[in-house]
């Protein structure tokens, strides 16, 4: 494995760890807000690390840009979704 592959592998593993931590957080945290807190880390940083790792592995600029676009779209959707869930949870008596 050359240096690029090592970096990609480390990024992918770090991303997977974020997904794992986020999932544990969602299962273990007591209320909706702290669960959201755990999940947004997964969407932003976890997916970001995975995308970076996969982009390095792809070896193609076009694919790397598409992966980046997926990350940006997922962030927009995740931010909106987190806001909606939090809003709904705060309205609930």
């Amino acid at each position: 494995m050359n240096a690029l592959e090592w970096i990609a592998a480390i990024l992918l593993i770090a991303g997977a760890l974020f997904f794992f931590a986020g999932t544990v957080g969602m299962l273990r945290f007591p209320d909706a807000f702290s669960r959201l807190h755990a999940l947004t880390k997964v969407d932003n940083l976890g997916l970001g690390l995975l995308v970076l790792g996969l982009a390095l592995q792809s070896g193609s600029l076009a694919i790397a840009l598409k992966l980046l676009l997926i990350w940006v779209l997922a962030i927009v959707a995740a931010a909106t979704g987190a806001y909606l869930v939090a809003n709904g949870a705060s309205r609930r008596p």
């Binding site: 927009v76 806001y83 909606l84």
Partner: protein, 315 residues
Amino acid sequence: MVNLYLVFDLLLALTLMWVGWRTLTSPDLFRGVVLFIAFGVLMTLAWVRLEAPDVAMAEAAIGAGLTGALLLDALADLRARRSHQDIEVSRLAAVSVITLALAGVLSWVMLTLPAQHASMHAPVTQPPNASGITNPVTLVLLVYRAYDTLLEMAVLLLAVIGARALHDEAPVGRAAPQYDLLAPAARVLLPAILLVAAYLLWAGATRPGGAFQAGAVLGAAGVLLRLAGLLPSPATYRRWMQMGLVSGFMVFLLVGVLVIFAGLPWLGYPATHTKALILLVETGLTLSIGMSLLSLFMSVPEQRSPSTHARASAS
């Protein structure tokens, strides 16, 4: 070394069955709907593993996304009116008997069909070069099994007409903007969603994609706009929506009939214009499927508080 793919597939299959079981047996309806959406996502993964990206896309967009949204919406309405709704047992029994009888007849028809093992594999994987269509799924749907797809569109149209007849659009066209962030997010995402729909439609000729996936994405865009309160009152665009609903079936039928005058068989495409005609049909299908899904979503009344509902049913 143990094959890691096999481990993953087995895990996926077991999780699918477990989530499916939990979906059906969950006493809490909301939990059931959420589990159903999770089931759709896992099912998408299963289709990817089966190397059927076309089905995976349709499953993600329709199975998990739009059906989930529909079920959540129906659930909210169900909760709002639960105390007013009594299902008559006699009616339930009658409907059950009719549906079971129909299912029995259809099963009998299927079982008595002569056994045929017509394989589409050879013609689909070695397509005629003139058509310009290389995606085998699109070839099957629009060339070799065009009649089936046409009838499918007719069934979809009938289903939407039935749903609309049962429930008119909600009287309030513009949903009260309940959430400040949804409308701006919808505005940001809308161009990207429409671009994806157009790309899927175009890509269907040579790569995974096509009218069903593009239509589902289009329908999702409509649902998003509807939820964000960005759609105007349905009265202003009812005519357009109706035209969109029938466009797929009409364009398909028109193309299928017009080729007869060129001396071709019914639904046979002329060799020189196959791709253009298929793209035309697929554009109609995309519009129709998008409108159908949006229309099903719109015929569910908007969320109302129990008090307004009580007043509406009391008057």
